[in-house]
């Protein structure tokens, strides 16, 4: 092949490489963004579940207290 041909191939490859590397940077930025969204979604989810676990404990407490109240009523009914 002639020097001209090699030069033209080199220039064409150089352009393709620039495009490919630009697309790489775009993809990496998008990936970074998605990873951040996944992580913050995971953190929200954990915080949400933590709040729900507190709620579950509160509910346990209320059920326990209603059961005590129920037992008091039962004893009142038996005892007199």
């Amino acid at each position: 092949e002639s020097a001209n041909e090699f030069q033209s191939q080199r220039d064409s490859l150089s352009l393709k490489l620039q495009n490919s590397e630009s697309r790489n940077r775009t993809l990496e930025a998008h990936l970074g963004e998605l990873e951040q969204r996944l992580e913050s979604s995971q953190q929200e989810r954990e915080a949400f579940r933590k709040s729900l676990r507190s709620l579950l404990e509160l509910l346990d407490g209320k059920i326990f207290e209603l059961t005590e109240l129920r037992d008091t009523l039962a004893k009142l009914l038996e005892g007199s």
Copy 2:
């Protein structure tokens, strides 16, 4: 420059382009995977919230029924 030099530059660029395009494919696969994880995490989250909303309605019902029971007790105490 000589034809040899152009040829050598062309070959080097060709290798770099192959590497860059391979990295592109890897990034795209990873992106696709993350997008799927985000979507399925979103769906789980929606299903979870739907279950919680059902629970909230059930809880509303129980509170309403306890309030009726409380009113019955109050009327029993007033009425006699």
Copy 3:
């Protein structure tokens, strides 16, 4: 003692007896009234307790249903 004295004692006793029998009738009427009040008070008390026992059963049901709701919430939190 003279006949007059016996007659006067008889008349005095006759009056006392009338008074005593009148008081007897008053006491018996009062007793009958009290017995009726005790009985109706006993019946009210039984009716009241019967209503309270129904309430206790209703309360048992509500506590059971709240416990089911609590278990559903616990399973939601474990399962996801």
Copy 4:
């Protein structure tokens, strides 16, 4: 009438009066007993109702706390 007749009537009335007064004392004792039972039954009833009113207040508190818990769950569901 003869003195004997008056004397015999006096003695008969005297016996009847004794019986009537004895019956009076029996009735008064029974009345006293019933009045005491009514009063102590009234006091038990008041004590019972007082306990039930305390229970009613406790139940009000539990319903209020369950309603707060319900509101917390509703806010968790809205807020995220």
